[in-house]
């Protein structure tokens, strides 16, 4: 019984990592950059959701279905709109001028953006934590003594839906194909008449919208919001993306869930004190056995 409850807790934690990792892997796959500011975009999404729900909640009768659903949806839409705008603006101002620069220069700029968002959030919204009322409600279903909260069910479902949608999008639409082309070879894609700049901007728009969804779900599961809330889930999700094979969409999902499960088991059965060390040790072992991650493509070295 303990085992099952740990497993469910692991999957729920992992699905949160997975949903963040999807955005990470998407941007990495196409723009070939580690967007360290991704976690902070999630934080902004969380704050947007907080403002929408706390602002609208009072307009509905207590306990009604509308009181949960309407502010929740509004929060999600506001978060997606703001984050998409933010993501595209960041891309335009900070990353686009560095298109030709070495990849490390872009990485450092992303870190600058991450500092900027964290400190900007502190100035705008103070460092006092805010508690976001869950957009989903605190209920849970019970299956033979095991309780699974609605948040977890919704997160897992969203994760699968987003994964399938992204896979379909990159595989079947015109824009998706352009993205894959850019990911393979930007110069060649340009020669084929693909607008590389527009494609990368689009990638950031999608990635940031995903970050907004992740932000809303993250704050529903872990409601206390601070300007630094996004930083560490961001790193964990990055780890998850590498775990699954960075650039691979199903890999991000698998990596995220596995990471969550391993972390929970390490905490539950070995020691809460060194659980992080254990997670990272497993990551190292996996990468040594499969150097491109679980589902990553091993690109042969060209001579």
């Amino acid at each position: 019984m303990t085992f099952l409850s740990y497993l469910i807790q692991g999957i729920s934690l992992g699905s949160i990592y997975a949903i963040i990792a999807l955005g990470y892997t998407m941007v990495y796959g196409i723009a070939k950059m580690l967007n360290f500011a991704h976690g902070d975009v999630i934080m902004v999404g969380g704050y947007m959701c907080f403002f929408a729900t706390s602002g609208l909640r009072g307009n509905f009768p207590d306990g009604s279905v509308a009181q949960t659903v309407v502010p929740g949806l509004a929060g999600l839409l506001l978060a997606m709109a703001v984050c998409t705008l933010l993501g595209v603006t960041i891309e335009r101002l900070a990353y686009k001028p560095l298109r030709q620069a070495p990849s490390l220069a872009v990485l450092i700029t992303a870190i600058g953006v991450s500092y900027f968002l964290q400190n900007g959030a502190q100035v705008l919204w103070t460092s006092n934590p805010k508690v976001c009322t869950s957009v989903i409600g605190r209920g849970a279903i019970t299956l033979g003594g095991l309780s699974i909260s609605h948040v977890i069910l919704l997160t897992v479902a969203m994760c699968v839906v987003i994964m399938v949608a992204l896979t379909w999008f990159t595989g079947n639409t015109r824009m998706g194909k352009a993205m894959r082309a850019c990911s393979e070879d930007k110069a060649a894609a340009q020669l084929m008449g693909i607008n590389v700049d527009a494609t990368i901007s689009m990638t950031f728009a999608i990635g940031s919208a995903l970050a907004a969804v992740a932000g809303v779900l993250f704050t529903s599961a872990y409601p206390t919001l601070m300007p630094t809330t996004g930083a560490l889930p961001g790193i964990k999700a990055f780890t998850a993306a590498v775990f699954g094979g960075i650039g691979s969409i199903p890999g991000a999902m698998l990596g995220g869930i596995l990471l969550g499960v391993i972390e929970t088991f390490a905490k539950g059965y070995i020691s809460t004190q060194v659980s992080d060390a254990i997670v990272f040790a497993v990551l190292i072992i996996i990468l040594l056995v499969k150097p491109a991650g679980l589902l990553g493509k091993r690109i042969p070295e060209k001579v």
């Binding site: 600058g112 400190n119 100035v123 590498v242 150097p291 991650g293």
Partner: protein, 361 residues
């Protein structure tokens, strides 16, 4: 031959610059007087400069992105500082004790670098980066759970739980207290010691880079397969750079910690690793002089911003400056401008910064 001498001259200019800066600061301090704030920052700046140089050896020269270098700093800081406390009576002379402690820190960090290097250097690019990040986090976690005590019978160790305190004999003392870190450190680091460490680091790095091994390291960076095909043992040379860098980082960690009276494992986290990486990238990869300047500048910047009473806007301004500097230094327009201005010298001194740009191939 001609190129070699040019390079040597550039190296001597770097040594000269560091010594000159040292003398200028000393003279300024002796005549006008430095503010306490700047005085307090001198040793941390030396430590950060050493860290930046050490990381530049891995990222710029060897072409491997390491996101966990603060881990080596941590190993050096904890082992070196614990050694300094243990040797307090054995070596009463503070500068000598500092030197021995830093050497011990460097040795432990080198050992850690070797052990970590074995798996890490088999990987490439971003996967290597994430594994170094993972090791950095593991080192942090280990020091957060490690207890080391010292009494007449020698060292006592324990992990996870503090069983050391109860086992210590009379006069014994807990050196490393898990999450409490080390407290009550005697401040024995000095600016002079810091500058000596920076100079020593430069000597080691320049000699390595200009040796047969250094050329092999750079050949492996530029094209691993080509280097292997001409019989270069890539792993061996990469390991050489990695271990050297780890040892230097360890010495810097010792210097840093012994300039403060307290240290905790969380200081050497991912953010610190990233901070050092920022120094290296801003200074130009493979460009040692650039690392020295950018580490000094970026350490001073947020402190100098205090003067403007920005309060909570201070770090926001720092972030904006960082982004603008990255965008401006990499803008094609500015690079063109620099090229035009320095065009005459272009043939003689190719910009080293661009050489190591794409180190992930």
């Amino acid at each position: 031959m001609k190129r070699m001498t040019k390079k040597n001259r550039a190296n001597f200019l770097t040594y000269g610059g560091v010594i000159l800066a040292y003398l200028l600061i000393r003279v300024y301090d002796g005549t006008v007087g430095l503010s306490s704030m700047i005085q307090g920052l001198l040793v941390p700046i030396c430590a950060y400069v050493t860290m930046a140089l050490a990381l530049n050896l891995v990222v710029g020269v060897s072409g491997e992105l390491s996101l966990g270098h603060a881990g080596f700093m941590s190993v050096g800081a904890f082992s070196g500082t614990a050694a300094a406390i243990a040797l307090q009576n054995a070596i009463p002379l503070a500068p000598l004790r500092l030197a021995v402690a830093m050497a011990i820190g460097a040795a432990f960090a080198a050992l850690a670098g070797f052990l970590i290097g074995i798996p890490v250097l088999r990987l490439n690019g971003d996967y290597l980066a994430i594994v170094t990040l993972a090791f950095g986090e593991i080192i942090k976690s280990v020091f957060n759970n490690l207890y080391v005590g010292l009494d007449a019978k020698g060292f006592h160790f324990s992990f996870l739980n503090d069983t050391v305190s109860s086992r210590l004999g009379a006069g014994g003392k807990l050196l490393i207290g898990g999450p409490m870190g080390i407290s009550g450190i005697k401040i024995i680091s000095s600016f002079t010691a810091g500058i000596i460490l920076v100079l020593l680091t430069l000597v080691i790095i320049f000699n390595l880079v200009n040796s047969r091994a250094g050329r092999a390291i750079m050949a492996a960076r530029d094209n691993r397969i080509a280097a292997e095909s001409v019989g270069v043992n890539v792993t061996k040379y990469k390991m050489m750079a990695f271990v050297t860098s780890a040892a230097l980082a360890g010495a810097a960690g010792g210097l840093y910690t012994m300039s403060l009276s307290t240290v905790v494992a969380n200081k050497f986290d991912f953010n610190t690793s990233i901070l050092i990486l920022v120094f290296v990238v801003l200074g130009g990869m493979g460009n040692m002089w650039g690392s020295i300047l950018s580490a000094s500048f970026l350490t001073l910047l947020p402190e100098l911003l205090r003067k403007f009473n920005l309060d909570q806007y201070r770090m926001l301004v720092y972030a904006i400056v960082l982004i603008i500097v990255m965008v401006v230094t990499n803008s094609p327009f500015l690079q063109q401008l620099v090229e035009n201005v320095t065009g005459r010298f272009k043939k003689e001194a190719p910009a080293e910064a661009e050489e190591g740009g794409e180190g992930n191939g």
